[in-house]
């Protein structure tokens, strides 16, 4: 079954920055780019802790949203 949009779950201890470093190694502004693809993490009504902190159950997308025909 093909995933409609690639994602990963964070590992214990991950922040958005450490996750970005792992999934987008060497890419400048990786954390910012990752956050821009995951606005649900930036916009959540109840932050989970320090800025950039993420949960192991968070869906973290590895690519931007796909355009949907007719949407």
């Amino acid at each position: 079954m093909g995933a409609s949009r690639r994602y990963v779950f964070p590992e214990p201890g991950d922040t958005l920055a450490t996750l970005a470093e792992r999934v987008m190694p060497g890419q400048p502004d990786a954390a910012k780019t990752l956050l821009s693809w995951n606005l649900h993490l930036a916009m959540r009504p109840f932050p989970v802790g320090e800025p950039g902190e993420i949960l192991c159950t968070d869906v973290v997308y590895l690519e931007p949203p796909t355009a949907r025909a007719g949407a």
Binding site: M1, H40, C56
Partner: protein, 565 residues
């Protein structure tokens, strides 16, 4: 001699096959005759079902009767709607296993998420079973009028094993211990595990299940796989993209561990009609890949009632509101609502909703309706929108909400009806979809916000009789044999000789949900919203007539049992 004969009914047996006329015989809590003439047989009780449908009792797969079943064996008024079996323990929250030292923390979490008044919970839940899941199954099963199929909550499991600090990843030993405890719960009869990806606890932090690494969920699903039990998920239902990703995650778990999975709720939204299409396409892909992923869809439209005297989940994410509504005393709330600075900030927060046309739930304050007033002089406001009254009074709807409440000492009730999931044609098509599981009633929860009763009657009145989205037989199948099959409740959901005698006798032309009315029957002084049945004739649980239109709830009827697999 039989215990019960139901004569001359129109038998809709739960399989989806066409209805036919016949008799049904019951003995020892079981169906002993279905369809054959029992004209010459005798029984302790005979029900004349001429002109009525005789169907299996309805099964409600998403409820939170966990608390109510401790103090109300009838789950009032669920049974009178034809519901004979319920699944409890959804959304990561079950009443066991809970350590005695963690009861208050758990209770606060349950009361917040499921909107259960503190007085009702504290008075009604006596923890008579101690801590264990098996103890709870045994204790509740001794005094229950409906069948209960309990899930184990993932958040509860984490609290039990990790202790008070469950906002972290578990160690390998702790994961192993959780697997052992889950296995014990399944052995004691749990029908599966529930988990949540969205809920928060009273400290506004994610509930324990949301701190679990995916490997932990996989380990627990492996245990479910040993017995083929269900994984229930409450997901980011307000975001179609995330819902699709959760479906893909669940499909992977389903295939990997050979388990059924279900997610709830799935709503239709007129402002984003393509979202449902996108989600159902993902479900279809999941099934095509060999997975079992059942999205649950409720039959009723979304509406919410509230008073500013109590906190309501509707205000959870509106800036400034939650801390005020969570204040401990009435006086503190009144002081906050009359403080110009706080009032200004609350009005600003509410005004944000007016500018959110693409919100998943349209909550513009101008559309709120005054439902009930606390003083006679405002009686003419009942039924009018805040937008309408605000124009008349030269104010704004947001300001009016606060000012009217303060004027009436916070006794005013407001309502927003048909917030979403109210497009009958679209919802009907969803309910008829072969991969859609009809459920998500939330029975027993959100008691001050909306009535969770009568979704089954609404299925027939709205989607069989009005929109013709489903045939009568298909609608019955959706809430009986389909549900029993999905959850592995092999003894139920079908009128077949040898099966448990859970039966509903109803009038197909009139069955419906009654109007939403206030009820003060719960312990404590808070009111809740309920709906009484319309068009139901008799409800039988394991052969015991438990409710009838003629006599109401039968005193002492305790035909229910814990459905342990």
């Amino acid at each position: 001699m039989l215990d019960l004969i139901i004569r001359n009914g129109r038998i809709v047996d739960g399989t989806g096959l066409p209805a036919y006329r016949g008799d049904v015989g019951v003995a020892g809590g079981r169906l002993v005759s279905v369809g054959r003439s029992l004209e010459h047989a005798t029984a302790g009780r005979i029900i004349d079902a001429a002109g009525k449908v005789v169907s299996p009792g309805f099964i409600d797969p998403h409820t939170h009767y966990d608390a109510q079943m401790c103090f109300d064996p009838y789950l009032f008024p669920a049974i009178e709607h034809g519901v004979t079996s319920v699944v409890t323990g959804n959304c990561s929250l079950s009443l066991a296993p809970v350590r005695a030292t963690q009861r208050e923390d758990f209770s606060a979490m349950f009361r917040l998420i499921e909107e259960m008044p503190k007085a009702a919970f504290d008075t009604g839940v006596d923890w008579r079973w101690g801590e264990s899941f098996g103890g709870m199954v045994e204790a509740v099963g001794k005094d229950i009028a409906a069948n209960v199929a309990p899930l184990v909550g993932h958040s509860v499991l984490r609290l039990f094993v990790l202790g008070d600090n469950a906002r972290r990843a578990a160690t390998a030993d702790e994961v192993a211990r959780m697997c052992d405890v889950l296995r014990e719960c399944l052995d004691a009869g749990a029908v599966g595990l529930s988990t949540s990806f969205i809920d928060i606890d009273p400290s506004m932090h994610p509930v324990p299940s949301r701190w679990a690494p995916h490997a932990e969920l996989q380990a627990l699903c492996a245990v479910l796989g040993e017995k083929g039990r269900m994984l229930q998920v409450v997901h980011e239902f307000f975001d179609a993209g995330l819902t699709v990703s959760r479906i893909e995650m669940m499909a992977d778990l389903s295939r990997r561990y050979s388990i059924p999975t279900t997610l709830s709720p799935l709503f239709h939204n007129n402002t984003m009609p393509h979202a449902v299409t996108q989600v159902l396409e993902a479900v279809e892909r999941a099934w095509a890949s060999g997975a079992r992923v059942w999205p649950q869809v409720q039959t009723r439209p979304i509406d919410i009632s509230w008073t500013l005297a109590e906190r309501s989940l509707m205000f959870l994410v509106i800036p400034g509101w939650w801390p005020v509504l969570s204040l401990n005393t009435h006086a503190e709330k009144m002081e906050a609502f009359t403080d110009p600075l706080t009032r200004g900030s609350l009005v600003a927060g509410l005004n944000l909703l007016a500018d959110m046309p693409s919100s998943n739930l349209t909550l513009n304050p101008s559309s709120y309706v005054v439902r009930q007033v606390g003083s006679d002089r405002n009686r003419d406001l009942v039924g009018r929108t805040l937008g309408d009254i605000a124009v008349e009074r030269g104010t704004t709807p947001s300001e009016l909400l606060i000012d009217l409440s303060v004027e009436e000492d916070l006794q005013t009730w407001f309502m927003r009806a048909d917030i979403g999931h109210d497009n009958a044609e679209a919802v009907g098509a969803m309910l008829a979809h072969p991969f859609v599981h009809v459920g998500a009633s939330d029975g027993g929860a959100h008691v001050g916000s909306f009535a969770t009763f009568g979704d089954t009657g609404h299925l027939f009145s709205q989607y069989v009789r009005k929109t013709h989205s489903l045939r009568l037989e298909d609608a019955v199948k959706k809430i009986t044999l389909d549900t029993a099959t999905i959850w592995g409740l092999d003894d139920r959901g079908v009128l077949k000789e040898g099966k448990a005698a859970d039966i509903c006798v109803f009038d197909a032309d009139t069955i419906d949900r009654g109007p939403e009315v206030a009820s003060d029957d719960f312990p404590g002084d808070a009111i809740r919203w309920i709906r009484r049945q319309v068009g139901v004739h008799s409800v039988i649980v394991n052969g015991v007539e438990t409710w009838s239109a003629a006599e109401g709830y039968v005193a002492g009827a305790r035909g229910g049992r814990m459905i342990t697999r």
